[in-house]
Amino acid sequence: MQPDTLIWILLALSALAFYLGRNRAIQASSGHIRNLHSLPTYYGYFVALWCGLPALVILCLWLLFDDKLILQMVISQLPESWRNLPEDQLSLIINQIHNLVAGETGRQEVDPALQRAADHYRQLKAIGYQALTVLVLVIATASLTYGYRHVSPQMRARNSVEKVVRFTLILSSTLAIFVTIGIVLSVLFEAVRFFSKIPVTEFLFGLKWSPQMAIRADQVGASGAFGFIPLLTGTLLISAIAMAVATPIGLLAAIYLSEYAKSRTRSIVKPLLEVLAGVPTVVYGFFAALVVAPLLRDFGIELGLKVSAESALAAGLVMGVMIIPFVSSLTDDALTAVPRSLREGAYGLGATQAETITGVVLPAALPGIVSGLLLAVSRAIGETMIVVMAAGMTAKLTLNPLESVTTITVQIVALLVGDQEFDSPKTLAAFALGLTLFLITLALNLVALHVVRKFREQYE
């Protein structure tokens, strides 16, 4: 039987177990449900969980490990000469076996030994499934009987069920954490490999970024420089410009919407603002590169300034426009969450609307606003497309917004595009950059958390 059929059968069995358990509880109560410790449905869930959970756990474990086991058995049956091959070639053969099993024979003749191995694999798999079916069904019925036997008026079914529920909740909440840890570890691992080739100090304090490595040993020129400071300044410069645009406009828009606008105006303007958030960043990139950058350039010429065709200013301005709806909608949420009674308190003392907003509403909404702004900063730091199109790819150490700069995310993309050996410093540098990016945004989020908590303590 296939595992998916098996899962359905398990579900059906559990449903059956639910009814059995509930009915047994009702019978045991001899007509008075108050005699039971818990409500009858809890006894139903209790038996159902007993029936389903252990079998499900076994099923999952099996599915996790059966491939590895079977593969070991298949490999041990391979001809001697293949088994002693180096690891990467062996994995090639294993791949071929997998393909054969999946039915992708390809065009060439298949090596009979390979074919034999594939058949062996298939056979083992089938046997495995049969064994699994028997195992799961036996466990399910056995544990069902066990749970069913335990149903008695004194048994604390509710407590047991709630324990399982709580465990599930804990599991779900930690899952996200584990995934994050997994991602960090995988990036960290590659980054460590990078740092074994390039010293950390060079990466952190180097002022030059030009990640060209000789692909062949005999190639001339090009020794890489991996100083990430120019990328950091570029990222910060563009983010700062973006925030300088988005913060005032977003805040003022939100204040207008939540405090001054009539509900009709609000119902029109708010969705319109949110449309801005739905525009793909590539489109913003076009806009930046084709409209804003030339405009800035012409404007610069008139002022006698030298503006490069791709400039941090163009990218930053457009990125700022992009995150306006982000800022405004988060701020708007924070403002509308301020209870009306607070506003009334201020009005009741003879405060004007402006005094009420600046003196009472904004301070009360500050934690929400600050965390919204920090989220927007993370967003700006992580943005790639606009920068690629409008600010360029050259890593230049400058704080002049009229020059072309590049950012961390753009360089990650640039490093991973194209044919590269996977363990060359150039490719690995992408992971180091990814790690730094992660740490920067993590730090920002921690700051946001801290700010929010600080104001909470003070104000609630």
Binding site: S341, L349, G350, A351, T352, A364, Q458
Partner: protein, 289 residues
């Protein structure tokens, strides 16, 4: 102006079907008792209030006198708060709320175009039904009003205003050592007194109090009642209360509301000893319900 008022008064008095149950008829009911007085501070005529489609107050006529306390009583949801909020135009900021009729403060129509609600609210202070301290320190809460109105020219004066206001509201002893603590950390009753202190710090000429003692213990209640007595020497006070004893203790006049209508109004002693309307009688003798 006063001649018009007298005419209205006479007209209403001739029409008054004293002692009969008129609250059930939808329109054209009449308030029992002396709703009109000589030289009123505030005068309301034919006030109707709507929340959207729903009418919350029906044709309220009531005068409120200089240097006296008027108590508004009545069952929950009868419109006491709504009426109170008309007097400083607090209903303006509720979307969908509409106020009809004429309300005058010192013979000036408060709903006219010339009246700036901001100035009005500085003159007509309010203590809300639910304590609503700002998420600021205790000091800043009380100092908020004096600051925006520039009542203190320096820090010492401001300190003084804060201290006297808190003392008058009977909160000073409890908070003198932690004026910089967040006001939201105070207990419900302390918050209520803080809001009273905050309201009187701007020295309003009329004070509207919506159940100011609902969360207070008897001692704190006595302090507030004493404050009300003090304030009465100079100002006009409108107080909403669910406590008959409190109404009897602090007020000179009492108005009984029922389902959005002003059923009866008169001298407090008279209302509590000799209610004329059966609804009033039922309510004050505890038969309402």
């Amino acid at each position: 102006m006063s001649t018009i008022m007298n005419t209205v008064e006479e007209f209403v008095e001739t029409m008054e079907p004293q002692g009969k149950s008129v609250a059930d008829s939808e329109q054209g009911y009449h308030t029992v008792g002396e709703f009109s007085i000589a030289e009123p501070r505030i005068s309301c005529r034919h006030v109707n209030v709507f929340y959207g489609e729903k009418q919350a107050l029906f044709d309220i006529n009531l005068d409120i006198g200089q240097r006296q306390v008027i108590a508004l009583i009545g069952p929950s949801g009868c419109g006491k708060s709504t009426f109170l909020r008309c007097l400083n135009r607090m209903n303006d900021i509720i979307e969908g709320c509409r106020v009809e009729g004429k309300i005058q403060l010192d013979n000036q129509d408060i709903y006219s175009k010339d009246m700036d609600p901001v100035i009005l609210r500085a003159r007509v202070g309010m203590v809300f039904q639910k304590p609503n301290p700002f998420p600021k320190s205790i000091y800043d809460n009380v100092a908020y009003g004096p600051r925006i109105h520039g009542l203190a020219s320096n820090r010492t004066e401001l300190d003084e205003i804060v201290e006297t206001s808190l003392k008058r509201a009977g909160l000073w002893k409890e908070v003198r050592d932690r004026l910089d603590h967040p006001a939201t950390g105070l207990s419900g009753g302390q918050q209520q007194r803080l809001c009273i202190a905050r309201a009187i710090a701007v020295e309003p000429e009329v004070v509207l109090m919506d159940e100011p003692c609902s969360a207070l213990d008897p001692i704190a209640t006595a302090t507030i009642e004493q404050l009300i007595d003090e304030l009465r020497e100079r100002y006009t006070i409108v107080i909403v209360t669910h406590s008959m004893q409190q109404a009897a203790r602090v007020s000179q006049r009492t108005a009984y509301f029922h389902l959005g209508k002003l059923i009866e109004v008169g001298q407090t002693s008279r209302i509590f000893t000799n209610p004329r309307h059966p609804l009033t009688e039922d309510y004050i003798t505890g038969r309402f319900g």
